[in-house]
């Protein structure tokens, strides 16, 4: 259970986190999505108790880890962005060390290590020295260490960064599995990752929440629906003297749509966003409109927006601070 209320963190004049509020229920996987420098790590560090906020609350199960409650911290599993390990230790030694530090009862330690190692798939490397492991394995060791005290809340800061695609997908699967009984907050700058793992996404930009909801909701709210259009002619072929005419006429036909020119030649490519744009009726109307303006549509397809375009759009609607 995570509640963040009006959280502000200021570094000198720089506002790293600006009045952020959201909450996450048990059994929910929430993704913090944002470009680098959006304040994701700062927010997570405050939640993990590594930093104190300038104002506001970051509450985990009714307590604020930032105010140094050892009890609060014992309910959190925090994986920092740099999952730094002690490279000279063996995996087993390291996990035992972390378990002791987390005050896991000594009778339970071997069992917990076994379980965490099994969950993270590192049973085979338990006797190896951490420094000699591959990056994927090191990330798993770090994740296993976080699970040792069986925390109800997991805070994972970019757990898949620097991994290859297969390792990424495995870690994602792991996070989904862990999220069924725990509250998981994890950060990423990949939209696809957020879509694959989270039930809910909180988008940050310049330290502010700019969107909060399921990935599908955010997409719908910000874009309406998006379709890509490709026609057989180039812009110059279509536009007689200049192409603005064609674009203007298209805009006239669909006054509510946002039309963007992607590629002018050899074949014109456009992106069009409007509520309900993916409906067949709309696409039929679009095809007719294109045809009337001398264009031969060869492709009209609904699109999954990229993170970049989604951000640009959300930013525009939120207004740049």
């Amino acid at each position: 259970m995570i509640v963040v209320k009006n959280l502000v963190k200021r570094y000198g004049h720089h506002l790293a986190v600006d009045r952020v509020s959201f909450s996450a229920a048990p059994g929910q996987v929430v993704g913090l999505l944002g470009p680098n420098g959006a304040g994701k790590s700062t927010l997570m560090r405050i939640l993990a108790g590594y930093m104190t906020p300038t104002s506001g609350h970051a509450i985990i199960k009714g307590e604020e880890p930032a105010y140094l409650s050892v009890a609060a911290r014992s309910r959190i599993g925090y994986l920092p962005e740099r999952a730094a390990l002690y490279w000279e230790m063996r995996v087993d030694e390291y996990l035992r060390y972390r378990a002791r530090v987390k005050s896991v009862p000594s009778k339970k330690i071997p069992r917990r290590i076994e379980q965490a190692a099994e969950i993270c798939g590192i049973t085979a490397v338990r006797k190896r020295i951490i420094g000699q492991l591959s990056k994927g394995y090191r990330q798993r060791v770090a994740l296993a260490a976080v699970l040792l005290h069986n925390p109800g809340v997991l805070i994972l800061d970019e757990p898949t960064s620097g991994l290859d695609p297969l390792q990424m997908s495995e870690i994602r699967g792991l996070i989904r599995g862990l999220g069924t009984h725990r509250t998981v907050l994890f950060s990423t700058h990949l939209l696809a990752e957020a879509q694959a793992v989270c039930e809910r996404v909180v988008m940050l930009r310049h330290g502010r929440v700019i969107a909060d909801g399921t990935p599908a909701e955010i997409r719908r709210d910000t874009f309406g629906d998006v379709i890509h259009i490709e026609v057989a002619q180039s812009l110059t072929e279509l536009g007689q003297s200049n192409g603005a005419d064609f674009m203007a006429r298209l805009q006239q036909a669909f006054p509510e749509a946002q039309v963007r020119l992607d590629v002018a030649a050899p074949r014109l490519r456009l992106t069009l966003a409007q509520q309900g744009a993916t409906e067949p009726a709309f696409r039929i109307a679009l095809a007719q409109a294109l045809h009337e303006n001398g264009a031969t549509p060869i492709e009209i397809a609904s699109a999954v927006p990229t993170l970049e375009s989604l951000f640009t759009r959300v930013m525009e609607s939120a207004g740049d601070p």
Partner: protein
Amino acid sequence: MSKKKKTPDPVPALAAAPTASAEEAPREAEPVADAAAPTEESDATQRTIEAVDGAAGGAAPARELAPPVAAADEVATAEPPAITAAHLRPPMEDEADADGSDDPTAAAAIEPRRIIRGGYRPVFLGQVWAVFRRELTLYFLSPMSYLVWTVVLVASGYLFVTSLSDGGQASLVRTFSQMGFFLVVAVPLLTMRLVAEELRQGTLEIVLCEPMGESAVVLGKFLAAYCFLLVLLSPTLAYPFALQRIGDPDPGPIYAGYLGLCLLSMLFVAIGLWTSTATSNQIAAGTLSFALLFVFWLLGRAADSLGEGLTSEVLLYLSAFTRFDAFRRGMIDTRTLAYIFSLTAFYLFLSVRFLGLRRLR
């Protein structure tokens, strides 16, 4: 595979590829990862995948963009084992106590229990022991410790022999004084990495986010460094035995001298530890603690050269070395004990505070 048709934008397609393997990997990987898996296992996998499919909801169209064959290839060539159904199950014991049996009511959420910085932070011996063990192991693994060890032993052995042949006395008074100076050099080399290195490598963030007070960290590290220093000095116990073979030394000054050496080491380690918490640069930490220890040593020298007078007396009080002098002559002074213990406690306290400051930034 119904919605997959044309997606002209290449970016989502690329980004979706890992997603696809997330879904497909367990199914395809089963024979690779565990050929002898029982049939229920693959059923479980199937169920998990179905559950995941249901949960993924909005992600469904994106998932189907990549061919599942690619995922299978990746699994076959990849080095780590794939996550199987067993891994996806949330299997930790006593799940109930971990997960929100305490009801997160709205009231509790709005009025959180705040524990003020600097308030009660229990020190659990198990945590101190864990930190202590790790640090001590690290000392025995580090080449630097063996280097320091060798240099200290060779130099003190050489000076022990020369002091015997020069002075012709069966006494360790001169050797103790020289070993005191070795500490000024050796302790910074041993303690400089304690916290500075963790800060530089980023492991300190993990340490500070553990359910553990800073004092446990400081105590564990301090005890480990102190223990290692005592181990490092222990071979010099051969000197008194050697003296006994060739002469008839007075045992009193030797016992007192060793006690003094141990106490002096304790203080120096505390100072070294504090300088290590003060900076993220090992070399800076080492230099700073060397400078501090050297000043202690200089104070005694300065007092000697000033002769009688108030300044000289004050300096004598302040210098750890002058206090050590009394010990190696066989005198145990309670004022000295108070001096060393209180200064050690002071520096340990400073270390705890400085470590706490690392949290704020």
